[in-house]
Symmetry: C2
Subunit: 310 residues, 2 copies
């Protein structure tokens, strides 16, 4: 494995799950001089032959093979100061085997995964003090040749899982910010998580089960009405947890989605590729909370059921 | 147009919309000596070259081209004693132009179409006394070469739209019965219509929007739970109209569906063929009644919305 330039005194970063999100954010950090080790699976051979190739609304960049710290196994990776988890949540049963080998006593784990339950799962395995939750608000995907297409947005929200404010979160955010990543620390990680779910549940869920891009889902009044109903259900579940969103948030999110055009959500891409869907983290975990809190969510119930049909 | 043998004193029958259902039932009547005129659209050239070829669980049969009264336009068709309407409901805007030319003062119209609202529409155009409602409980489709595949079931329920019992209904039923069609007269057409909707709404609706055969929809507990929920919603709407079904009907229908194997509903076939879906008659008309009667049908609302997305 080659060494990154001028990385001696910088924190060692491990990106676990070098898909579109992992390659993009890890790539930005590597572009700005951080020693970032990437754990690839399907993208490994492209990575070693082409390096990281990123087309981004915030500026294209490349990490050439000679500077890319690409791995196929955690066994070749060093202990990390910061483990950035960007696995599909469908691979969360591999948390232990993939992350444990990278940890030293001071390692911090940041998850940028979708949906609910990831921080809880990591905290249970590795201790809650290590865990920082993150959300990546981004339109991004990876082409078959490995090129990352970053179409829109890109902000990261970071928050301590424990809820205690800590100086380290600001340090991680500063590291991201200095690497051309729009990043902010949030007091209430749950607010950010549920806000993202308000968008993800209708667009990823319906997009996957119906195989439709976001523009088709909201092209008609009936369609945007359905998306709106799902959003309001999710907002009601959040409210039962004490998380209050502005009443017009659903409308605003739908309006904002129009500028994305014919966007394929990650879950629709997974469906088309025949990969397992992130139904558990994105739909079932929120549904479990709705049931527990006795919030009626008939559309979410139906969406989840449709997402797990054989 | 050739003449049917020995058909001089028999009622003249016109089948409007010679798709799978029209070809099968019209074909049975023709097989048993009735003069049946078929209005074809896409199937016309197959019909004149191959005749009607039917593979059926009740016995295969053929009507050779020399005996098949195949038409491409109502202009070549005689006035009919009985007009059997088997159009897709998506073509109901053509009722007037297709049926009017065939009517004399005594003509009776039997619709075997899916969903709700067809009898009402026919009654409005041609007078309610002409209209007999019919339901075809059958698993049937047409292959590309025109062969009709009749896989299972096949019973017809007939009932007067006006609700008044009449001798003519029994005569039509007897005509069907003498032609190897299992047919019964029902006192309450609405009961039969809604009973069919209880099956059609989940299986046609979900089958089409998710592109799944019936077996996949009920292969898991989550899936049969969803089908069951939709069925119960439809049963509640029926109840608001005074139509009471046995409480275990949903479970029985789901159990009965298992024997059909990997069945593609007509609406799933339409979706795959890129044809318009029968969303209005099958989903929207029942939904309108639910809204009018203030019966909560969140799953039906969602299903309808999904079925009309672009």
């Amino acid at each position: 494995v080659p060494r990154a330039r001028g990385a001696a005194s910088k924190p060692v970063i491990a990106v676990i799950g070098a898909g579109a999100v992992g390659c993009y954010y890890g790539g930005r950090l590597a572009q700005h001089g951080f020693p970032v080790h990437f754990l690839f699976r399907s993208g490994y051979s492209n990575a070693v032959s082409r390096g990281l190739v990123v087309k981004s609304v915030r500026g294209d960049f490349k990490i050439p093979p000679s500077r890319l710290l690409a791995h196929r196994s955690t066994r070749t990776m060093p202990k990390a100061d910061l483990v950035v988890v960007t696995l599909k949540t469908t691979a969360n049963d591999q948390y232990k085997s993939l992350i444990q080998p990278l940890l030293k006593s001071t390692s911090i784990i940041v998850t940028l995964q979708n949906g609910l339950g990831n921080e809880e799962h990591l905290a249970k395995l590795f201790g809650k003090d290590r865990v920082v939750g993150g959300l990546a608000f981004t339109c991004i995907y990876r082409l078959n040749n490995g090129t990352i297409q970053h179409l829109d947005y890109g902000q990261i929200h970071l928050g301590e899982f424990s809820g205690k404010q800590r100086e380290r979160t600001a340090r991680i955010a500063a590291m991201f910010s200095s690497s051309n990543i729009d990043c902010k620390v949030v007091d209430d990680l749950r607010y950010a998580r549920w806000e993202k779910l308000v968008w993800n549940i209708p667009f990823n869920g319906l997009g996957a089960v119906l195989d439709k891009t976001t523009d088709k889902l909201i092209a008609t009044e009936v369609g945007s009405g359905l998306v709106n109903r799902l959003m309001l259900e999710v907002m009601r579940v959040a409210k039962s947890l004490g998380i209050h969103f502005p009443a017009n948030m659903a409308d605003k999110k739908i309006a904002g989605t129009r500028s994305m055009g014919a966007y394929q959500t990650s879950m629709q891409i997974d469906r088309r590729a025949g990969r397992p869907l992130e139904s558990r983290a994105l739909l079932y975990e929120p549904l479990k909370i709705a049931r527990l809190k006795k919030v009626a969510v008939p559309c979410l119930e139906m969406l989840y059921a449709m997402s797990v049909l054989p």
